[in-house]
Amino acid sequence: MSLDVLWFIIIAVFWTGFFVLEGFDFGVGVLHQVVGRTDTERRVAINAIGPLWDGNEVWLIVGGAAIFAAFPSWYATWFSAGYLALMLVIVALILRGVSFEWRAKLDTDRWRGTWSWALTIGSLLTPLLLGVALGDLLAGLPIDSSQEFTGTFWDLLTPYGLWLGLTLLVLCASHGATFLGLRTTGPVVVRSRELARRLGVPTLVCVAVYAVWTVAISDAGAWRILAAAVPVVAAAAAVVLVRAERGGQAFAASALTVGGVVAALFANLYPAVLVSSTSAANTLTVADTAASHYALTVMTWVAVAVFPLVLLYQGWSYWVFRARISAPPDPAGDTGQLRPAGRRPRG
């Protein structure tokens, strides 16, 4: 395999990993006001992703930076084409990021309510808009022969892109509900499981339509159809497993659904990286946007050396925070921290 293909796969892995991981914390952000009626319940929901969301978001940062480094022209064309949409993504990510750290800093309803809404809106807009941006890669944008975008904001709203955005938003919500069903206790877990049940079928419908649409607009080959089928099967499995109250397996199925949706896009995109709707000759491909062999070699070595380590410590952080979050009445507690159930502080 040549290095540019390898880096296309690495980038697909980063974007897939980003939606699998940050997907559930987007979902929790969208749903935390639904599953949590009181401030404490909302904090139970938010604290379930508290230690994890920041590390999850880095998958997006690296996914973006890797495109810059490995396929500079893809990065340049795609990011400048999506100018206004990405501007909104930035605003959404900013609102979300600060709301996590600042929400608890004042003890008034108005303050917390404001930041809760910032979290909700930020978590809602990001997967929706990024979904549209990813969908546009395959649906095609007006790109001229000098690799520049010639359209307007409205050209970004391709029907396929909008559908992928919607699909990812619904998926993130059900992924988040499934996650909370695993990671919380009390009223929050009851409402989360109920939500996960209700979201199952709409998710399955979204994914199924997406899969058919994807195969329809790309050159169908056996393995492409297979790639598009995986998330449909996984979404169906998630519906069954959620109903059977098999929390862990249901979460694995919803993770596979989210990952499958994003991976299917990249599988169907290759060898293009950004389709031109103006002319097939203007389509950006892996081969003609790739960085030099030396640059890719250097980055490959760095990725080989560092990435396993990242997986190791990020996996460890998931292990450390594996216990369910609860907010038991705890008059004896010295700090009243929303602590993982069944653990006592050591320090």
Binding site: T40, R43, N47, G50, P51, W53, D54, G55, V58, I61, V62, G64, A65, A66, F68, A69, A70, P72, Y75, A76, W78, F79, S80, A81, G82, Y83, M87, I90, V91, L93, I94, G97, V98, E101, W102, K105, L106, T108, A291, S292, A295, V298, M299, V302, F307, V310, Y313, S317, V320, F321, A327, D330, G333, T335, G336, Q337, L338, P340, R344, R346
Partner: protein
Amino acid sequence: MDISQLDLSRLQFATTTIYHFLFVPITIGLAFLVAVLQTMWFRSQDPALRKLTRFFGRLLVINIAIGVVTGIVQEFEFGMNWSQYSRFVGDVFGAPLAMEGLGAFFLESTFLGLWLFGWDILPRRVHLATIWAVAFGAALSAGFIMAANSWMQHPVGYEINASTGRPELTSIGALFTNPVFVWGYAHVLLASLVTGTLLVLSVSAWQVRRGTSPEVFVRSMMLALALLLPVSAVTLGVGSHLGVIETTYQPMKVAAMEGQWDTCAPCSFSAAQVGGWTSDDQQATKIIEIPHLLSILATGSLDGQVVGLNELQAQYQQKYGPGDYIPNVFIQYWSMRVMAYLGSVLPLLGLWGLWLWRRHKLTSARLFLWVSTWAFLAPFAMNTAGWLLTENGRQPWVVQGLLRTKDGNSPSVSLAEVALSLGIFWVLYLALGAVWGFLMLRFARRPLDEDAEDPAAPDDPDSLFPRSPALTY
């Protein structure tokens, strides 16, 4: 005056970069100081040090939140506003950027989560290691970014591909041994330490002045003072050596920061001047001149020659064709002086504090405490000035000698789109800055009483649950 998309894109990049760089040095510096405080607590088991760790840890978190999110903007903007630049430099510039994400940012953010939420879960030794990982990750992150930036100042380790006309990476090692990087990174790291140190000094001095737990806050003040003199003195030294390096590779930047139109040897340093900012107005009224000092600063020797702007302009025209190669002299001149003057005062503040410490007068020296309280403003001015000096001094180039700024923007993005986004950034950043300032002030001025969330706010009478601690959401 006609405003172009390019002008607004530049203004937007300057706005977002300078804003981001208000918080980055605090994060790097404060993370280090919090790690030191926690290490001291780990060793001594003194509860007072635990309180200090959590107190300054809260300030760190308020700050990291905004630092991280404004950093994402920077990465996106390269592609959004500067597509021709990204296309041109991606092969070289992208590599350190990707390494930053993989090697540093993952580390910082994952371990920040572990540190924040791990207080009651992780063994103490492991928990201590997590804050060091955060501090290390933040410092490492700046390293990769500086390597990328230094390449724009002084491109190395590349070859121009004959068929595409774009630079291609030929030696990654060259990026990290680039003298502009080595000295620039050292300078940024040290300046960040100074920033963190001054913040701790300032907050501690305010608390001591107020008499809230002075016996505890005097300890964080002593930690800050132990660092301030050596660190600020070394920063000044490294910064001035960076000037010598830049004279070699970017003589235009240095000539502009001295407003030096004519070549001179030996050259005197003007402490302040009126006029002399443009090629039409080269005659400056110098207020105080110090003989030989400019030669020393720019070349490291007493009689060193500094090539003037006029001669450099002529050289550049010959080499790169017609055009104006002189950056904005006014900005260069004053940003250098803001940095140098404040930078020279800080070691004196450190010296003053150490002298009072020796005489056991730290808690009673009202004037010193007052000055220290306000000293936190200095690093903001200096960091911003340093950034202006570096980036403005490179103009009209975006990559020195290879690509002009005007050739780097995104052709597909309209003036209206950039105007809209710039407006959004201004409103959003002003609002965020106000909230950040409000929270920093509030938490910096709180008394040091255990881990209570907010003693001023009333209990929720309906809640059976005790108030939650500040370090959770």
